[in-house]
């Protein structure tokens, strides 16, 4: 008598105990046993297998188990954990890497978790990504400035991921067309700037809209309503992307698929500047990877189809043409609808091939004689029907159509056949079909790896019209250079003295700013009040607002007057700024305002100091850039700078300054 197979839950439980006890070899072998119980294990088990294998010193096994995670449910936890393990496996250990690619990921939100997932999703497609992310808030600076670190890094591809907040739309516009066109010009100017430097592959995320409208449902009929404009921006931007050979990701459609309630996560936005919910990110990563892969020709080009119980219900050889289920009843309609979807796919250029274990004449009769059959024999570029193993027949399909195996996707309802093909031909993509045929149509419609990247002759003619329109748009907006862009931002800085009203935000910045922080002197509220209570101490803050957003209170500076043999001096005790407004001239304005304060207080000179902490290297040369001279360099790297107190005179910083008197 054969012993019953241990249940999945019990095996997982045992594996978990081994893993917790860090007995990785034992954990891996128990998990392997559990994995055999299903065609492809759930994501959580794949990740545990990968962890156990990696810790046991087998990165190849680990990386191989991470790939199926991409095809499982888009759970943040599973994906994030898988992405982290993949980061620890060198790309040489990944399965079937076809190409390495340097990708810059530029977002208007915190993209690091997304970037790791993108790397995972791309690995599943044979792409080993190296990812570069500019600092937070540097979307336009990093792309428009030809001297930026991003350009110096020389990316082969750039993924542009803005979110709807960065559109900065008013709730209602009196000039909807002009507003939409201005937005399109602004976002597409980035493509031109990238292409001017090199010719990277560009993937542009579209905008998804959340949130209500003050006008409720009524807003849907108004051209000036925010959502209407976002829809217009998406359409125009996508058209222009097609014209300019930029890959466009329809984020609004993905948001709709998951549902806006799950797609957007306001808590994540406020806590971490992640606008999308946890389970949105895997979906976004999977599809971004698919569009990226399409750009380098990695899309599948041929769909190989089983016949019995895939294109119709029942077995043609047993049931006969009259006996199969196709049309006529609920399940039959689902099969017919699936065939319609396949026909649409063929219509846009995906080759169809039949691969079935049948007598060829019997199978052909079904297509000729069944009244509800949607597909015809001539719809198939190859018709391989015999009793050979499917993997042999897939090879012959590829040979006949002169395609690589990595251009094929294989749809079959039978898990045994799928497993046979996966094992024999790992290059062929073999998705799992839902058990219920009513889910087939959606499965094929949501299959992301047929993504096209080229367009046909008729698309091209239409694209010419789009191109002419797009050029006109560019001329009107002329947002090509960084200086023009900054001028167009209409930046307004407001300054004020530190007072009880803004104390908590000021203290927060003082204690958490690491990079743009000259001295990194941490102080709590009481210490700060004491310092600023002294005569000759000046604490100021700055807020920044532009056409698109109010960035809030983003910079703090403290100046202390003192007497010096050469005259009275204002020493800059503290100067710090949030990195999200880096590269906009705010720091110049802050030092300029400190200089004005110095002059008003009778100080002729200002002094500043840079205390290196290992994290504030970006401001080591700030005072030099602002025209101060080095006067002292300590052994620990601390440098003191001094110069005459002069108000900000650089006219190229287009920033309007206002003082708020408390």
């Amino acid at each position: 008598m054969v012993a019953p197979r241990p249940a999945l839950a019990a095996l997982k439980e045992t594996g978990n105990r081994f893993l917790a006890a860090r007995r990785f070899d034992e954990a891996a072998s128990v998990y392997e046993e559990a994995a055999l119980l299903s065609e492809i294990p759930r994501g959580g088990l794949c990740v545990r297998l990968a962890r156990a294998h990696l810790e046991a010193g087998r990165p190849e096994e680990a990386a191989a188990w991470l790939m199926p995670v991409v095809d499982t449910a888009p759970s943040f936890r599973t994906w994030a954990s898988a992405a982290r393990i993949l980061d620890r496996c060198p790309p040489e250990t990944w399965p079937r890497v076809r190409r390495r690619l340097r990708v810059a990921l530029v977002g208007t939100w915190t993209t690091s978790a997304f970037g790791a997932m993108l790397r995972l999703a791309a690995a599943r497609l044979g792409l080993a990504l190296e990812i570069y992310e500019p600092d937070f808030g540097q979307y336009f600076n990093a792309t428009l400035d030809p001297g930026s670190a991003l350009h110096a890094w020389e990316p082969e591809a750039v993924v542009l991921a803005p979110d709807q907040r960065a559109l900065g739309l008013k709730p209602f516009s009196d000039a909807p067309e002009a507003d939409a066109e201005a937005a399109v010009a602004r976002w597409s100017a980035v493509w031109q700037a990238l292409r001017a430097r090199s010719a990277p592959i560009i993937i542009q995320h579209g905008f998804a809209t959340s949130g209500g409208d003050p006008l409720g449902h009524y807003a849907a009929g108004l051209a000036g309503a925010r959502r209407t404009i976002v829809a217009r921006v998406n359409r125009l931007l996508a058209e222009r992307a097609t014209t300019e050979d930029v890959g466009f990701l329809n984020v609004q459609a993905l948001a709709g698929r998951l549902g806006a309630e799950a797609w957007f996560d306001d808590r994540g936005w406020y806590m971490a500047k992640m606008p999308y919910g946890p389970d949105a990110l895997p979906l976004l990563a999977r599809h971004t990877a698919a569009v990226l892969a399409a750009r380098i020709g990695f899309s599948r080009r041929c769909l190989v189809l089983d016949l019995d119980n895939t294109l119709w219900g029942g077995v043609i050889g047993d049931d006969g043409v009259e006996g199969i289920t196709l049309g006529g009843n609920a399940i039959g309609e689902a099969y017919a609808d699936f065939q319609l979807a396949l026909k649409e796919l063929r219509g846009r250029g995906i080759l169809l091939a039949a691969c079935s274990k049948n007598d060829e004449a019997v199978a052909r009769a079904a297509f000729r004689e069944h009244p509800e059959m949607v597909l015809r024999e001539e719809d198939f570029a190859a018709f391989v029907v015999n009793w050979q193993p499917k993997s042999d027949n897939l090879r012959s399909v590829a040979a006949r159509l002169d395609l690589g195996l990595d251009s094929l996707a294989f749809f079959d309802d039978n898990p045994y056949e799928r497993a046979e093909v996966r094992r024999a031909l790992p290059e062929v993509d073999v998705p799992i079909l839902p058990e219920d045929p009513t889910g087939y149509r959606r499965a094929i419609e949501q299959y992301p790896y047929f993504e096209p990247s080229a367009f046909t002759a008729s698309d091209r003619a239409r694209a010419e019209q789009y191109r002419a329109r797009a050029e006109a748009l560019t001329l009107r907006a002329s947002a090509g250079s960084l200086a023009d862009y900054q001028a167009s931002l209409d930046m307004r800085a407001s300054f004020g003295r530190v007072d009880p009203l803004n104390m908590s935000r000021v203290v927060q910045l003082i204690n958490k700013t690491n990079q743009f922080n000259l001295t990194t002197r941490r102080r709590n509220a009481a210490e700060l009040e004491r310092l600023l209570g002294r005569p000759g101490a000046h604490g100021i803050w700055a807020r920044l607002r532009d056409r698109f957003a109010d960035h809030g209170l983003i910079a703090v500076a403290i100046g202390i007057e003192r007497d010096d043999p050469a005259g009275r001096v204002l020493e800059i005790d503290t100067l710090l700024m949030s990195c999200r407004v880096l590269g906009r001239g705010v720091e110049d304005a802050v030092v300029g305002e400190l200089a004005r304060i110095a002059l008003a207080a009778g100080c002729s000179r200002i002094e500043g100091v840079h205390v290196p902490t290992g994290r504030n290297g970006m401001v080591a040369e700030l005072y030099a850039r602002l025209g101060l001279a080095e006067i002292e360099r300590a052994p620990d790297g601390t440098v003191r700078w001094a110069g005459p107190a002069e108000p900000l005179t650089r006219p190229e910083v287009p920033i309007e300054i206002n003082w708020t008197e408390a």
Partner: protein
């Protein structure tokens, strides 16, 4: 070791990719190399997934050590 600590240890290990993590109530972000402001939200999402709870923004803002986390999990769970 309590069940919560055991499950939380597993969440930490899988989130931060460090199988050697052993939790104590006093442990803070400074004690775990990969626990920074960006991965903090990943940790929160993973804990929510594991325990089937939802943290409020205030809960998250007030967390400073593992003991605080356990307290929130026990209160919300």
């Amino acid at each position: 070791m309590s069940d919560v600590v055991e499950r939380l240890t597993e969440v930490f290990r899988s989130t931060f990719g460090d199988e050697a993590i052993v939790l104590t109530r006093e442990m803070t972000a400074d004690d775990v190399a990969a626990w920074d402001s960006v991965s903090h939200i990943e940790l929160i999402y993973a804990i929510e997934d594991e325990f089937g709870i939802k943290f409020s923004a205030r809960d998250i803002a007030e967390l400073s050590c593992v003991g605080d986390l356990i307290a929130v999990i026990e209160r919300r769970g």
